[in-house]
Symmetry: C2
Subunit: 463 residues, 2 copies
Amino acid sequence: MHELGGDSSTVDVVVVGAGLAGLCAARELGRAGATVQVLEARDRVGGRVLSRQLAAGPVVELGAQWIGPGQEHMAALVQELALTPFPQHCAGDKVLSLGGKRSTYKRDIPSLPLLGLLDLDRTIKKLEAMARTVPLGAPGQAPRAREWDAMTVETWKRKSVLTAGARALVDVAIQSIFSAEPAEVSLLHCLWVLQAGGGLMKLSTIQGGAQQTRLREGFQTVAERLAAELGGQLQLSAAVRAVVQSEDGVTVHHSRGAVRGQRVILAIPPTLAGRIEYEPALPVARDQLTQRMPMGSVCKCVAVYERPFWRERGLSGEAVCDRGPVRITFDDSPAAGEGEHGALVAFVLADGLRELRELDVAGRRKAVISALVQLFGPQAGEPLDFIEQDWGAERWSRGCYFGLMPPGTLSRYGAALRTPCGRIHFAGTETAERWLGYMDGAVESGRRAATEVLPLLALGAKR
Amino acid sequence: MHELGGDSSTVDVVVVGAGLAGLCAARELGRAGATVQVLEARDRVGGRVLSRQLAAGPVVELGAQWIGPGQEHMAALVQELALTPFPQHCAGDKVLSLGGKRSTYKRDIPSLPLLGLLDLDRTIKKLEAMARTVPLGAPGQAPRAREWDAMTVETWKRKSVLTAGARALVDVAIQSIFSAEPAEVSLLHCLWVLQAGGGLMKLSTIQGGAQQTRLREGFQTVAERLAAELGGQLQLSAAVRAVVQSEDGVTVHHSRGAVRGQRVILAIPPTLAGRIEYEPALPVARDQLTQRMPMGSVCKCVAVYERPFWRERGLSGEAVCDRGPVRITFDDSPAAGEGEHGALVAFVLADGLRELRELDVAGRRKAVISALVQLFGPQAGEPLDFIEQDWGAERWSRGCYFGLMPPGTLSRYGAALRTPCGRIHFAGTETAERWLGYMDGAVESGRRAATEVLPLLALGAKR
């Protein structure tokens, strides 16, 4: 059915996807002496990491934006590549808009009436305690895995969270961490992701949390540096269509030719892997998994201003909002010394994004800016620049941040996430044990896949 | 990116998929004077309808098997094609195996202790009353759509069904109708499917229900007769890879060439449609839908015996079982006058199938036959023939009976099921208003798609 085209070559390992997972897998393999070919469908590297240098000055992150404590893989990589981390701005009060009422607060937990605050505190403690019973390497083995995988987070919330304020904030937290509504996600999958990142509070906060540190150069630079090391071992604009396994190797057919290898690492989200043709067909469990891991729904909007005017009014730029298109914002201004501009990044998520998509580009801009005005005042109304990045429209991601599991998936098909299928191995942040869904998980997964493949190679045999 | 190959042609409408939906669409279009090309990935027609003539004599249905009252499309088609319906055998007692205890019963509802029986009766009435509030053409508009789409059927069951016996039977009913566990399916999607088929009781029963009537020739004959009418307008073994829309038409690229048309009808399940490349990309809502409609899990096993020995013991061949690999069975013997053989069809479903897949072919056969022995006695232990058909392993179905919706899907993406995307129209049983998931729904959807396309064609313009 598939024949090798003219542009074919042979390597030890073919890596599909030049996001952080694929690039790190290729790097580890190369360092161990294996020959590698990385195939990337896009005309750029980085996958869900995408930085853009604005004409107005700052580098903005249209994809993954932060690293935080505990993300050892990314921290080491940033240090090794001599890049420049800087702290996410957080000095000042935070804005809370709940039920149309705007207030400000200072601590990690938004200001609620006492009862709501107690309820929220209890809810977080309860979720984190449940999450701690989920074994990261085998979430399906959690003592209550079947029960938790049979319900949505929404079901749990309605039963366990009692006050309207706490419910609204749980919604925003889930939307922000999963780019999905609580109704879309299995409770077990939710707990697994929370535990993989050290708990709900860690995933929700700046200082000491997953939003602590940005990168002056932009995180795509990490991918670009890794790609530069690969040189000709990386091919862009090569969309993989078919993976054909035979007794003595595997052939990967793509839009520009074909590559043969001993092994292949698919470093792409499961739903994209499900679009590839496989010969022979993959096991049913793997195919079913790829049918049931939809990508989340997030659009990042960045508004650039002459200066960070909110800081002058004692605001940090962080906001939490339960209505309208914008759920959370952060100060997105450049690092100190990189210019006087100010910027805000606004996350449009899940149902909020699905509604926003009904509008045209001007309508979307207007809706988001008007939400920023509500949170930060009229000065937010006239940005110098405004960028939106809806990841659902990205053909080679099909959504962001990561592949979600609806009920019934993790306990039944979770093992297929990274169980190799013959000569095919799986990487990508969805397959990570720690920091699943984050850049750090992607790096971990790429390294793990390389470690998995290396002992299976007959190195030098083909050279 | 895609260029027209040597084997290209031009028609009014390209139909992808030669299941009942695609074949009926093509037929309607042809009758109205449009030129059509049907492309089918398999080397046969019928899709999820597959009949096999056994060496031992009877024709068995490895796919869709029955029609029933209210299925007007299929009834008319069978009559028009002069095929021979016959009643599903149901005389005799039914077997119930619950918690390892075997009993027999005579009515539609299995025999339970009084409390369980009352509970089951109340549950069925409640489910059917809820289902009646779901508008078939717009299930997302049901008054409680958001709430019901935020929970699994399992969540509802745990809250609303009180006795162990009734819960076990609800499980078997859901598994049998959806080929999925209650934990995998959104309550709203469940209610929609129930309502589309006239309610839970209708979908669960033989006389007056969806299992009432079989076809002497096998239902694949319906597809074959429709295909014969098409002649050269049908191409088999043509797997569609890409659909490219331009201002003046659409080009469908497949494994054996390309076809140009004014319109294309995709008459395949959403998860398979999600594997096709589209240029330009489809709207996000459509792409997201195809990421979140996994196919169900069913393996049909047919055991053929010298004669239907269970009838001699006053049993109908129908059984319901809450443990082991087999959930339901029916008498699958040939129509009167078609030979003396007896046959039983056993449905292995959802979790039961996922467990069975761990075994090799001999182990699977042993497990299923041993379940039949438990239900029907030692004579079931020595079949003349035994066939298993696991639809999950069918590359061009990826599971059966139909595409399921986990929570959060129907209320948010349901409209994308049959909203045309430019020149692309959608058919298939998943898009039906009535008898969704059944053959009748497939026929309805194909006719609806043809009706949708016809007024948009410039007929004769290209000829």
